[in-house]
């Protein structure tokens, strides 16, 4: 390679930083939707680089379902402090009360779907015109056609037919009042790219990404952490297993995988060898219907 060439991670990084700067310049009130997972942690890291030595010119927004892993919440607060970033947290629990919504019921009652309400309320509260998210196109088939700048109507809805063609590296962020744009700077990264980047950049992660002992119950072949948020029946077998998480979502809808990988190298080694894709392995709710993601996106989910 000539000295004027970038390797693939540097190219992806360059593209993402370019996108971040476009967002900051084109929108009046952007926000970065921070979930505490490795993808949004990578986003924050890229944002830091994009605006250095200045601070990140938009707030980090966390829509907290109340079902998060404590490790992820601690990490979030620590990160915001380190970066001197503005952090806005809004609780799904509050939305449920204010809007008199029905708490989902069932064994793994997930507030995942209700996040949309809190998100849309938060967008309105602060007048956000662009929400930056960590979705990747490789995650799932419905995502593969998502634009990097994805226009949503005032109900947060996504219409596959209304998406603008994106050419070269020119991003058209013009919108009408009431509309907003979801921006996905790491669209072109795969799960493995994220892990390799985290390793290369020595980005710290919440401890649940590495193997640890945890009390879990076995449900349809998946390990779900015991927590006050799930219903444990007498017939359930509760075990202590050595596990790690591959994605970090709610405690109710993220499954752990058995693993001894306690360092990044070991995790990456396992992932490279893994034969199950990220979503299939760790998202309990996606198994419900095959078009689950598509429905959720149409309804304003990130």
């Amino acid at each position: 390679m000539s000295k004027y060439q970038l390797d693939y991670l540097e190219q992806l990084e360059a593209e993402s930083i370019h996108i971040f700067r476009e967002v900051a310049a084109q929108f009046e009130r952007p926000a970065l939707l921070f979930s505490g997972g490795k993808d949004s942690i990578t986003l924050v890291h890229l944002a830091k680089k994009a605006f250095a030595p200045g601070k990140i010119p938009f707030p980090l927004v966390h829509i907290d379902t109340g079902h998060n892993f404590p490790e992820a919440l601690n990490y979030r607060d620590q990160l915001a402090k380190e970066l001197n970033a503005d952090l806005i947290v809004r609780q799904v629990g509050d939305t449920i009360k204010q809007r008199n919504l029905t708490e989902p019921k069932g064994k793994f009652a997930s507030r995942n779907w209700l996040q949309t309400y809190t998100l849309l309320d938060t967008i309105e509260e602060f007048g956000f015109d662009a929400c930056i998210g960590g979705a990747r196109r490789d995650e799932e088939k419905a995502r593969a056609k998502e634009r990097i700048f994805s226009v949503r109507d005032e109900f947060g809805q996504w219409d596959p037919k209304l998406q603008r063609p994106e050419l070269w590296n020119v991003f058209n962020g013009r919108i009408h009042k009431g509309e907003n744009v979801r921006v996905f700077p790491i669209s072109n990264w795969t799960e493995l790219d994220i892990w390799n980047y985290i390793r290369k950049e020595k980005i710290g992660l919440p401890s649940i990404y590495f193997s640890h002992d945890r009390e879990v119950l076995l449900h349809e072949g998946q390990y779900v952490a015991t927590s006050p948020f799930i219903q444990i029946d007498d017939t359930d077998v509760v075990l202590t297993k050595r596990v790690r998480y591959r994605t970090v979502g709610d405690m109710t809808c993220t499954a752990a995988i058995e693993s001894n990988a306690s360092t990044l190298d070991e995790v990456i080694h396992e992932i490279t060898a893994a034969r199950i894709s990220e979503r299939g392995e760790t998202r309990i709710d996606d198994r419900v219907t095959e078009a689950a993601m598509e429905d959720r996106k149409k309804n304003g989910y990130f």
Binding site: L6, H18, A52, K141, G280, E294
Partner: protein
Amino acid sequence: MDLLRFITAGSVDDGKSTLIGRLLYDSKNIMVDQLEVLEKQTKNKQAGSIDLALLTDGLRAEREQGITIDVAYRYFSTPKRKFIIADAPGHVQYTRNMITGASNASLIIILIDARQGVAEQTRRHSIIASLLNIPQVVVAINKMDLVEYSQDTYNNIVIDYAKVASQLGLQHVTYIPISALNGDNIVDASETMPWYEGQTLLNYLETVQVETNANLDDARMQVQFVIRPQTEALHDYRGYAGKVLSGVYKKGDSVKILPAGIESTIASLEVNGVAVEEAFAPQPVVIQLADDIDISRGDTIVKLGNEPKVENELEVLLCWLGDKPLQAGNKYYLQHNSRLIRTVVKEVSYKLDVNTLSQQPVTEGVKLNEVVKATIKTASPLVFDAYKTLPATGSAILIDETSNSTVAAVLIQ
């Protein structure tokens, strides 16, 4: 390890989805659970086989119609390269999608059905490849199993396509006979076509030289965002953040700010928060200048003595992407990287027939999927190069002022 972006083009049913599925499958980039879903969805197939085309078939509406209607992106990697595939559909009317997918590609795979040979669509896709200057063309002659793996059939198609290629001035064309369905010459060499001595498709994709960033001479950088921390420690810091679009910048370089024409010197360069001696395309850079001058988003910083054009009337090719037709006299926003300028389309001189390259008179408005030559006038001078010499500064989009949609791809002549 580097990165290769390519696009696949072909008529409907030439086997594009099957080919992509095959590339992902044979290079072991498909996961077990995805395969399970596929197996469930596969209908009317003999036991044990799966329909690889389903892998790349995204939205539900499309699944119902059984066609792909937009550009989708796929990712796979081998130990040698990471690949990003823009999957553009083959329908006649979807020139728009192909242009979109091709705009970032450094290689195009054009699929030909061995039974049909070079078709009207093949010409169309090749013309678009040449308009957009895609450096490498792979002609994948598919469904060889249906022509008894015949070398003569293959040779005749190669001879036919070579004529198209020379007409269009396509420089780097590679031919590979394949069967996407059976996997011949995709990842593994074909046992049924011993007469073919070239590389398999994957092998070719892994090793082809794509001259990205080859242009080290013409330094171009456009300001995206001005960084002003205004903290005590960085009180007077004023950094111009943007991507190096082309070439190399060094600390101490004498530069000119366009369109204003002011001169200064590069006082410091930072990439990703780290001070560097030089920065090159496509790095995201922050430039500080020695002089206190007023620069804002959309301004271009170039090196003295190597300057792009600065004009407000330009000749362009417009690939029309909008549903509303273009009429001469219409006003739009032109977005040229980060610069947004009001623009009027003064004159549409001719329409390019994308099947024959012939120039046709424009009688009514310019419609979706049409390519025209036009003269546009911008409200203030644009800083640009010709698309053929520097795509990064020779390309732009037109935005409808009222709907905000992206209505045209602009290739500056």
